[in-house]
């Protein structure tokens, strides 16, 4: 059996609880695959910045970008501590762009074989089956995709 199934796992992080559950799940998998590395990615949503530009907040955009970068860095620092606790190696990547698009590009650039993502992130409707980002990733990724569900913690405990 090929032992190479999970060598590089991309974990999409947006700070939501669901994304941290996805991170836990990824650590759990990585521990069973010696040499497996987690690729932790946070994408700053370009669309939010475009909106700011459109409504003539251009002078503020730079400041917003700075703030979002700082927030992204601290999120990734917080996330990085999780695999460390599990003695799993990880790299962090702060990106900017259309979220799903950047996640997919990053998975390709980093040679990932699995993408672990929460079903619902920070934006969007909770009642849809899959959030827009998870949906786009599940549709378009050539890699395997593991979707950790909103409410999965509750059902796992049941």
């Amino acid at each position: 059996m090929a032992a190479t199934s999970f060598q590089r796992i991309l974990v999409a992080l947006d700070g939501s609880d669901c994304s941290f559950r996805a991170l836990d799940f990824a650590c759990h998998i990585a521990k069973q695959y010696p040499g497996c590395t987690l690729v932790l990615v946070h994408v700053i949503d370009q669309r939010a910045l475009e909106t700011a530009r459109m409504v003539h907040l251009q002078p503020m955009v730079e400041e917003i970008v700075r703030t979002l970068h700082a927030a992204g860095e601290s999120l990734l620092a917080e996330a990085e501590a999780v695999p460390k606790r599990h003695q799993v190696s990880a790299t962090t990547h702060l990106e900017q762009g259309i979220i799903a698009q950047r996640l997919l590009a990053c998975a390709k650039e980093q040679g990932c074989d699995l993408i672990v993502i929460g079903s619902h992130g920070r934006t969007g409707l909770q009642r849809v089956l899959l959030g827009s980002v998870a949906h786009a990733v599940a549709q378009l990724a050539p890699e395997m995709v593991l979707i950790v569900r909103e409410g999965a913690a509750a059902s796992a405990g049941a």
Partner: protein
């Protein structure tokens, strides 16, 4: 997190790919596997005598037979690899039956192909995968065709 893996199969090549991965993952995690084959009961539309005159009930029988074969063949692959495996043949609306099976087995991970036997390859997610997402909250690992 990965103790009880449910693998829905339909005899398609993507399902075979999911099976191969499931064997590997189950071996690593010493997980128990449940294989499920659902005989799609939309066939009953054909089997309804008032709908079409010839009796098509043999279709359903044929599918059950095929399901048993597909399950037995897949189960053998797991057993040969030393994985604890059980099988289940169900009848009904495929996503709902998979959802029910997921609950019954106290599944912690669903491992399935994005696309099975029916539908368009280019379509977003296969209709069954979408339906399964609607019926359960269990994490789901999707394998590409």
């Amino acid at each position: 997190m990965l103790e009880r893996i449910l693998v829905p199969i339909d005899g398609s090549p993507p399902a075979a790919k999911a099976t191969t991965l499931a064997i590997e993952v189950a071996t690593r995690f010493k997980a128990e596997v449940r294989l499920v084959f659902v005989v799609d009961d939309s066939i009953h539309v054909l089997a309804e005598p008032s709908y079409v005159q010839p009796d098509y009930t043999f279709f359903a029988d044929k599918m059950r037979e095929e399901g048993e074969q597909v399950l037995a063949a897949a189960a053998k692959r797991f057993k040969d690899a030393g994985v604890k495996v059980t099988t289940q043949l169900r009848n009904g609306y495929v996503p709902a039956e998979i959802g029910a099976s997921v609950k019954e087995f106290k599944t912690t991970l669903i491992l399935m192909g994005t696309h099975g036997r029916t539908g368009w390859d280019r379509l977003v997610l296969g209709s069954v995968a979408q339906g399964v997402l609607a019926t359960t909250d269990v994490p789901i690992l999707l394998v590409r065709p």
